[in-house]
Structures are given as structure tokens and as C-alpha cells.
């Protein structure tokens, strides 16, 4: 079923991680990704694993939720592992074998890097509501408004897109059922036939999306929406003590990652 897709799903909660300001979390995720890509030796990777494990434990998000989200990535992860395993030069594990000790090491590191990269960003979306996330992003990108970049409009579009994903999924489900009731068949036949079978779903979906967009625009217009200038917020984001503490920990973490990199461990 389409409904079972977990995409940027938010699991509400009241843990330390949930309470952090979205800006803090965005910055920390950035720090985490930078550290992940500076890591060279095992100690560097260990540090990243430790950081991720610590944050996940604090957030009380179950590991199973992460695995569910990783499912679509399995192919790319396996491919990366195999490529690194077979195409790295070094000392073979047995004389005459193509697999080398270096290959195994690189394969493990690359897989670890992808896993942590994806799961780290999952931790952000799992613990931050889409609204908070886009609000945080807008405030973080605010300085770019000086360059006349339409930051407010961009983040607004982002939050609208996120908001309408479930609606569109529901609508697709309904149209599919309706066409199936008229004997449409989406599962059998060759590629061309299947592509053609999508037409009865896509056309009504696009038509209704346009109608929805017009309605939304009218609704915003009639409430005098005129863009970001001078617009106030109902929920003011404020950096609290825990945010400063978390950012300090993040900075220390990044420094440690660079030191480990310098010594190559």
C-alpha cells in the first residue's frame, strides 16, 4: 500500500533531542556530516558511531524505525560494499585471491559512512516536525536574504510540499481504486503497457493538483498573504540553555574529529 511509505516521518516525543531548537539540530547534523567525511581511520569512524548512538539513545527512537527507512537504500549500500571489496588493491587475504584486507576495510568504512549519513538525517526528521524544520531553515538562511535570495518563499514552498505529500498519496490511492473498479490493470503486461496504464491515474492527479494549488493561492490571497516581509510568527524560536550546551558539545566533537584526522587514526 502507498500509505505505508515513511518519508521524513515525524515521531512526536518530549525528549532532550525533541526539545532542541530546530536550528541547533540542523547545525548539529551539518557538523555530524562534516565529521563523517573527515573521518579517515577507525577511531574517526568510531567517534561518529558513538555520537549517533548517543543521540539516538537520548531521542528514544527505536532502531527499527531507521531500518524501515533504510529499505530503499539497500541496493546502493550493497553495490558500494561489493565495488570496494573487489576493486581495492593491497594484500590479498589468501594468496591469489582478489579480495584484499584493504578492500574489506574500505568496504566496511564506506557502508558505515552511507548508513550514518542517512540515519543521521533521519534522526533529524524523526525528532523535528516539518513546520519546525522549515522555520529553522528559514532563520538559518536569513542572512542570504541580503543577497536578494527569496529564502522565505523557498522555505514556504518546502513546507507546503511536505504538507501535501500525505494528501497526494491519499488521492492517488483513491483514484487507483476508482480506476481499478473500472477494470484498469496496473500489474500485468510489458513496460509500455504498464506506462500506458498509469495515464488514468496521472491525468486526474495532475488536474486535481492544479485545482488544489489554485484554491490554496486564493485562500492565501484572501487572507492578505504578501510574502515574508514584516511577517511575524506565532511560535517564536528561541535558543535556550540546552541549545548552547548542545552546540558546545557539537563544536568539541568536530574539533576531536579534526584532531583524529590529523593523526590519521
Amino acid at each position: 500500500m502507498l500509505k505505508d511509505i515513511t518519508l521524513g516521518q515525524f515521531f512526536p516525543g518530549d525528549t532532550l533531542v525533541h526539545r532542541l531548537d530546530p536550528r541547533t539540530k540542523l547545525l548539529l547534523v551539518t557538523v555530524f556530516i562534516v565529521a563523517l567525511f573527515t573521518a579517515a581511520g577507525w577511531m574517526g569512524y568510531g567517534l561518529c558511531v558513538l555520537a549517533f548512538a548517543g543521540c539516538t539513545a537520548l531521542s528514544k527512537i527505536r532502531l527499527r524505525a531507521f531500518f524501515k527507512g533504510l529499505k530503499p537504500m539497500i541496493f546502493i549500500i550493497v553495490l558500494t560494499a561489493l565495488l570496494n571489496l573487489f576493486y581495492t588493491r593491497g594484500t590479498p587475504i589468501l594468496p591469489g585471491w582478489i579480495i584484499t584486507w584493504e578492500g574489506i576495510g574500505r568496504a566496511v568504512k564506506m557502508v558505515l559512512r552511507i548508513l550514518l549519513l542517512v540515519m543521521g538525517t533521519f534522526l533529524l526528521t524523526y525528532t523535528t516536525s516539518p513546520m519546525a524544520l522549515t522555520d529553522g531553515l528559514e532563520l538559518l538562511l536569513n542572512p542570504l536574504k541580503k543577497l536578494r535570495l527569496p529564502i522565505h518563499e523557498m522555505t514556504l514552498m518546502m513546507s507546503m510540499a511536505l504538507r501535501f505529500i500525505p494528501t497526494l498519496i491519499e488521492e492517488t490511492d483513491r483514484i487507483m481504486s476508482a480506476q481499478r473498479a473500472r477494470g484498469a490493470d496496473f500489474e500485468t503486461g510489458g513496460l509500455v503497457r504498464r506506462a500506458k496504464a498509469l495515464l488514468p491515474i496521472l491525468v486526474p492527479l495532475i488536474v486535481s493538483s492544479f485545482n488544489r494549488a489554485y484554491d490554496l493561492a486564493t485562500a492565501m490571497e484572501s487572507r492578505c498573504y504578501h510574502g515574508g516581509e514584516g511577517r511575524s510568527r506565532m511560535k517564536q524560536l528561541k535558543l535556550a540553555g540546552i541549545d548552547l550546551a548542545a552546540l558546545a558539545v557539537g563544536a568539541a566533537f568536530l574539533a576531536l574529529a579534526f584532531i583524529l584526522k590529523k593523526y590519521g587514526v
Partner: protein
């Protein structure tokens, strides 16, 4: 001819997840050929889930649906064939129109049945005739009015000549004139073909006037099943489930609360009138204050 039998039907959405929800439970009934059945129940009562089992769009989590004694979910072929026998018109069906012309859109269902061109042509014209859109066959569905679109969408299902026609809220969001036309179209189809018709509706007055049998769903169970006079003789039970009652029934309920004695089931204006006249005569005869 098709007789539908539902045995101990149960459906669970998203099983084995935190979002698991039992939508219907222990629903059993028989729909003989040719009945006009109204389906009542407020939002979330399971009525939409129920009707989607009748043509195998949803698979039962438990229980069976039989058509003429055969399990409709037996295999892939039976699940497909049942769609020609049981035609389902969804709520707001105008949103599923996709072809360039009305003609092509009505022909989509018969085309999927693998019929010959002549046969398809005949069915499209016949279905368009039932709902009165013959003049619009070459137009684009997008140019039509809301009521016209709705009738075209219904024609798209009727063109498959289903022996059982199921409609989910066919009059929702239409003006009174559009409502009347659609109900007339459905009646005409039933009269001409002898099909079984199931109409899910919030419009109690229409249900009371049209249906010969009513199904009432509440919290996933079929709680009442009987002719309108039986169902509407217990109006308090309906209002207790958060349902409306037909306007004459509501008036009768209010009058009874004032102490007026009226006969058992009142759900049409004619019955209300007859009941009031009888009460007035009784009062004249000096049977006491009313």
C-alpha cells in the same frame, strides 16, 4: 443474475504496525438480486470499507464474500471478473475522469473488458442515455459542469452493465436539481436492468424514499438491517449513533415529546400527514387533550 453473500467479513488496516485499526468486524448479510439498499452510518463507521469488499478492491482480513456461491477472492481471474458484475462508483467520481472526450472516458471500462468496437459503442451510447449526457459525448470532460461530470462518471460504470451497482454518496455536493437528476438516473437503470443497487448516503430523506432495505453501520459493525419502516420506528437509536433521521421523522419525534400520539414508523411526508390527521380526528372525538 447475481446474489451477493457476505460471511463474517472483517477488515484490518495496516496490520502489525502501530497504526493497526479494525475497520469492520463480523459483517454478515445476503443481497438478493434486484433489491434497492440504502447504506447508512457516519464517517468512520466502516461503510466505505464494506462496499470496497463487494468487488474485491479490498481483500478481507477474515470472512468471505460470495457471488452466486463462488468466493470472489478465489484467484486473480475471479477478482477481476467480479468488477464487471459489481460496479462501484466512488465518492466524487468526477475526479477520476481522464480521457479527452466523454465518449472515450465512458468507453474505458467496457474497453478493459475486451469487448468488440461495436459492442463498446452500443454500451457507451446506452449508458450515456441512462444519465442523459448523449449530447456531450464529443466534449472534453473538463468543460462540463459539476453535475454533468458526476453523471458522466456514473455512466462510465454503468457502461459495464453491472448486475450490482454500488454508489458511495452519489449526490454529495450537488445542488437539489443535480441530486434529483442523479437519483432519477439510478432509478431508471434499476428499472430497466433489474440490477441490485446499493447507495451509501447521508441524505436520510432520499434513503427513506428510495430504499426497500436499509443497512446501518456503527463502529465497524452492521447494527441494523431491515426495511425502512423497521429502522425508522427506532429513531432514538439512530440519533444515538450520531445519525440524522428523515425530516418527517424528526418532526414526529418532536411532536411525540410534546405528548402527541402518532403511529409507529414515520419517515415520509405522507405518513406524517396521515398520522397527524388521525391524531386530530381522535382529539375531535374527545379522546382527551393531545
Amino acid at each position: 443474475m447475481a446474489e451477493i453473500k457476505v460471511e463474517q467479513l472483517r477488515h484490518v488496516y495496516s496490520p502489525q504496525t502501530p497504526f493497526e485499526r479494525t475497520a469492520i468486524e463480523a459483517v454478515s448479510l445476503i443481497l438478493p438480486q434486484g433489491q434497492f439498499v440504502g447504506v447508512l452510518g457516519h464517517t468512520g463507521s466502516g461503510k466505505s470499507t464494506f462496499i470496497q469488499h463487494l468487488n474485491a478492491l479490498l481483500l478481507p482480513s477474515g470472512g468471505r464474500v460470495l457471488c452466486d456461491g463462488e468466493d470472489i477472492n478465489r484467484d486473480k481471474v475471479s477478482r477481476r471478473d467480479i468488477k464487471w458484475k459489481v460496479g462501484l462508483v466512488f465518492q466524487y467520481p468526477e475526479y477520476q475522469l481522464f480521457e479527452e472526450t466523454v465518449y472515450k472516458d465512458i468507453a474505458f471500462g467496457p474497453g478493459n473488458m475486451g469487448l468488440s468496437k461495436e459492442e463498446i459503442d452500443e454500451r457507451v451510447r446506452e449508458a450515456a442515455g441512462f444519465v442523459g449526457v448523449e449530447a456531450l459525448l464529443d466534449r472534453s470532460p473538463l468543460e462540463l459542469s459539476g453535475g454533468q461530470k458526476r453523471r458522466v462518471a456514473i455512466a462510465g460504470v454503468i457502461a459495464m452493465r453491472p448486475e450490482v451497482l454500488v454508489l458511495d454518496e452519489p449526490t454529495a455536493g450537488l445542488d437539489p436539481e443535480g441530486c434529483g437528476q442523479i437519483l432519477d438516473n439510478i432509478r431508471a437503470y434499476k428499472a430497466r436492468t433489474g440490477a441490485t443497487v446499493l447507495v451509501v448516503s447521508h441524505d436520510m430523506d432520499a434513503s427513506a424514499a428510495l430504499a426497500e432495505r436499509l443497512l446501518v453501520f456503527n463502529e465497524g459493525r452492521l447494527v441494523m438491517d431491515g426495511p425502512p419502516e423497521e429502522i425508522f420506528s427506532q429513531p432514538e437509536r439512530l440519533t444515538g449513533m450520531g445519525l440524522d433521521v428523515p425530516r418527517p421523522t424528526a418532526i414526529a419525534m418532536a411532536l411525540r415529546r410534546q405528548g402527541l400520539r402518532l403511529p409507529g414508523a414515520v419517515y415520509t411526508h405522507a405518513q406524517l400527514k396521515a398520522g397527524l390527521l388521525a391524531a386530530a380526528r381522535e382529539a375531535e372525538r374527545g379522546a382527551g387533550p393531545c
